[in-house]
């Protein structure tokens, strides 16, 4: 589904990713772990198409298509979803209005008519229940006055609504208390299907106790330096990055 080959990315002329390779198949969950500054969030931003990230070499294929040629909204329409590390507030715009615009843009890209209000509301209520969000949350302004935990749940809620093929979760676990983490993990597990892949970017082993990854990668200094099964995360938790990153 996602193939990244020799990806080099600079931000303001400073190289951040330095030859990253990654292969993600449909149905898989890949965890990307690594110390601060390794380039984890840069990877998420580049995949989603944020401005200001200059790809200096390499390629990214999403279902055989050159992802880097698409604008951010086209990537979204193609099925790429990013759960933001720091979701922004949109004052005065309710979650219903926001997701109506998003869903209908997706539908328009597929040549479908807009959803009518009843269908929209039914879908939103169903997914809100999955994230154990109070229905009143739908009429509140997007992320305005939300706690950190609510914002992260709202991101996963949006993911459930938009039904992506590839979901990138950028440190969704940080700032969540145990209960919220459990809710988010349960929702992600419920959304695991053979057609959908997840890229889980995280500092911590904690979330991987709830969401079992297929592959764990360690990202350091702009490259994936080690890959392995779930036990790699456990090893990392026990020994720390420094020990694992020492040259063998």
């Amino acid at each position: 589904m996602l193939t990244i080959r020799n990806l080099h990315v600079s931000v303001e002329g400073r190289p951040i990713l330095k030859g990253l390779n990654l292969e993600v198949r449909a149905g898989q969950v890949h965890a990307i772990m690594g110390p601060n500054g390794a380039g984890k969030s840069t990877l998420a931003a580049v995949l989603a198409g944020r401005e200001g990230y200059e790809v200096t070499d390499g390629e990214v294929l999403f279902e055989g298509q050159n992802l880097l040629e698409l604008g951010p909204e086209e990537r979204s329409h193609a099925g790429v979803f990013l759960a933001f590390q720091y979701p922004v507030e949109i004052p005065g715009v309710s979650m219903v209005q926001f997701l109506r615009a998003a869903l209908n843009a997706h539908r328009a890209a597929q040549g479908l008519d807009p959803l009518d209000t009843a269908e929209l509301m039914a879908l939103l209520r169903e997914k809100a229940a999955l994230l154990k969000l109070d229905p009143s949350f739908l009429t509140r302004s997007v992320n305005e006055g939300f706690s950190g935990g609510e914002r992260k749940r709202a991101e996963i809620f949006q993911m459930a609504v938009l039904n992506p093929k590839l979901a990138i979760l950028d440190e969704t676990d940080s700032g969540l208390d145990i209960d919220a983490l459990k809710i988010v993990a349960d929702a992600v597990n419920a959304l695991r299907t053979p057609q959908r892949a997840f890229l889980l970017i995280t500092h911590y082993y904690r979330i991987l106790q709830h969401i079992q990854p297929d592959v764990v990668h360690i990202l350091a200094d702009g490259r994936i330096v080690r890959s392995g099964g779930p036990q790699l995360a456990l090893e990392l938790e026990e020994k720390g990055y420094e020990a694992l990153l020492l040259p063998a």
């Binding site: 944020r50 401005e51 909204e73 086209e74 005065g92 997701l99 869903l103 843009a105």
Partner: protein, 483 residues
């Protein structure tokens, strides 16, 4: 590669003003320029009662002694008042005012059809009565008879002077005196038409009353005069919309609106102003120099809602004199400026009565090279025990070259008053646009969504069908303004 946000922007920036068409209509004009003879010409042309000649002459003489003000936070070149026509009437209307909608000249009807303003009552779906004003003359007023059965008078100012001269005489100039300011004095001297509303005691006007203003003729100013009187316990909601053709020269629009809210009444006045704003370099466009003021007696309420997207310069302060005890004044405003537009707008709330309340919510949006100023005065006089005011002034900046300014003046002469003021300035940042893009929402649509959210509190006060129009206008005014 994909076009960048800047490129998308630039494409949209070239969008034209949609309402800029001009329809050749044969006009009858007053002699060019301004003099006592011209004033008399207008008065005679309109066959007005004698008190009006006196009113106009006093205003003209006062105006001659005044100097054109230039204190706005912006710039305009002095206007040559002798190089303009102060009365332009489409001939078809001047010779014979239509008595019914069927009599309206087809050419004139076509202008309003193109603007989407239906003059056929059967086409009016939303239950809005319309008074359409073209240049100096009222074209038609719909729903008049139905309203008359409830005792509601809704007609052009000319008809009011003909049919209800005593009512006009009693209230005209009582809220905005003939010598109030330079532009109000000019209006008082030369105004040719406008709308008149009277709602009798205890009557709740069941439909929205609406006037649609259109400047068509060349080198004419539009000086309409609106007078709305809500008698004791009455309620009326009034809407005003406006457009003008594209012209390379500036056009002056110096209107006066007077609201009289008698005890226990409620007047809700909404404006969606979309005069031609000039081109991207600031050539042409309407100077919208308007005096709007209401007076609220005991337990009365006046609420102004305005969405200002057009005009080269908007310079106006819809105000409320809270004269009566327990009276309420509200001002909800969205002012959008793009390209080279300038807006200096806000409100004045003058607290005189006891327990008077006022609320101000102003949302300024600046894009391009425009300048957007909020200027407001909250005045609490010694008599105003327990006066309360809340003001919220927010500014939103789009791009790097625009400006937003806030001048809140507060004068409190009674220690029991509580006056609160909040202000914010924000930008539509790259992060919020990227967030929307990532969810699949294209940039232009995202801007519309964000702007609508930002203005929500104000738009919520517009009557529904007007709110829809206002949302569209906001989107169009700001199309391509994000980079």
């Amino acid at each position: 590669m994909q076009p960048t946000q800047d490129e998308i922007l630039t494409q949209h920036l070239n969008r034209e003003y949609e309402w800029g068409f001009e329809v050749p209509v044969e006009e009858e004009l007053a002699p060019k320029g301004l003099s006592e003879e011209v004033i008399e010409f207008i008065w005679a042309k309109k066959k007005e009662p004698p008190f009006m000649l006196d009113f106009r002459m006093r205003a003209y003489r006062a105006w001659k002694e005044m100097r054109e003000p230039h204190w706005l936070n912006g710039h305009y070149d002095p206007i040559d008042y002798q190089d303009a026509y102060y009365y332009a009437a489409p001939k078809a209307l001047a010779e014979k005012r239509p008595r019914s909608l069927e009599e309206v000249d087809p050419e004139i009807r076509r202008i309003f059809d193109r603007l989407g303003i239906p003059l056929h009552e059967q086409e009016i779906l939303a239950g809005v009565a319309v008074d359409a004003v073209l240049d100096s003359v009222s074209v038609a007023t719909t729903y008049k008879e139905r309203l008359a059965k409830m005792g509601i008078l809704f007609c052009s100012m000319s008809e009011a002077l003909e049919n209800y001269p005593d009512l006009v005489k009693k209230y005209l100039g009582t809220v905005v005196p003939y010598n109030d300011n330079f532009f109000a004095a000019l209006n008082s001297a030369v105004f040719s038409d406008g709308s008149f509303v009277y709602v009798p005691k205890g009557v709740r006007c069941p439909i929205e009353l609406s006037t649609y203003f259109r400047i068509n003729a060349r080198k004419t100013g539009q000086f309409e005069r609106t007078l709305i009187i809500a008698d004791e316990g009455a309620y009326v909601s009034y809407l005003e919309g406006c457009t003008a053709p594209k012209r390379s020269e500036h056009q002056l629009h110096a209107a006066v609106v007077e609201l009289v809210a008698l005890p226990g009444s409620y007047i809700k006045y909404s404006t969606v102003q979309n005069w031609y704003p000039g081109d991207r370099e600031g050539r042409g466009g309407v100077f919208n120099f308007v005096t709007k003021r209401g007076i609220a007696y005991d337990n009365a309420k006046i609420s102004w809602t305005q969405v200002e997207t057009g005009s080269a310069i908007t310079w106006k302060y819809p105000s409320v004199i809270l004269k009566g005890d327990n009276s309420t004044g509200e001002f909800y405003s969205v002012a959008v400026t793009n390209h080279r537009q300038q807006a200096d707008t806000g409100t004045k709330m003058i607290h005189i009565g006891k327990n008077t309340r006022s609320r101000i919510v102003s949302k300024g949006i600046s894009a391009g090279h425009s300048q957007n100023t909020y200027r407001g005065l909250v005045q609490v006089l010694p008599s105003a025990e327990n006066a309360r005011n809340f003001s919220q002034c927010d500014s939103l900046l789009i791009g790097q070259s625009c400006g937003a300014h806030t001048f809140p003046y507060v004068e409190v002469k009674n220690p029991t008053a509580i006056v609160e003021h909040e202000a914010t300035t924000s930008k539509i940042g790259e992060d919020i646009l990227f967030y929307c893009n990532q969810r699949g929402i294209p940039t232009q649509e995202a801007v519309e969504l964000i702007i609508n959210g930002y203005c929500q509190e104000v738009l919520a006060h517009l009557p529904l069908e007007f709110a829809v129009e206002a949302r569209k206008l906001l989107a169009i005014s700001l199309e391509g303004s994000v980079g």
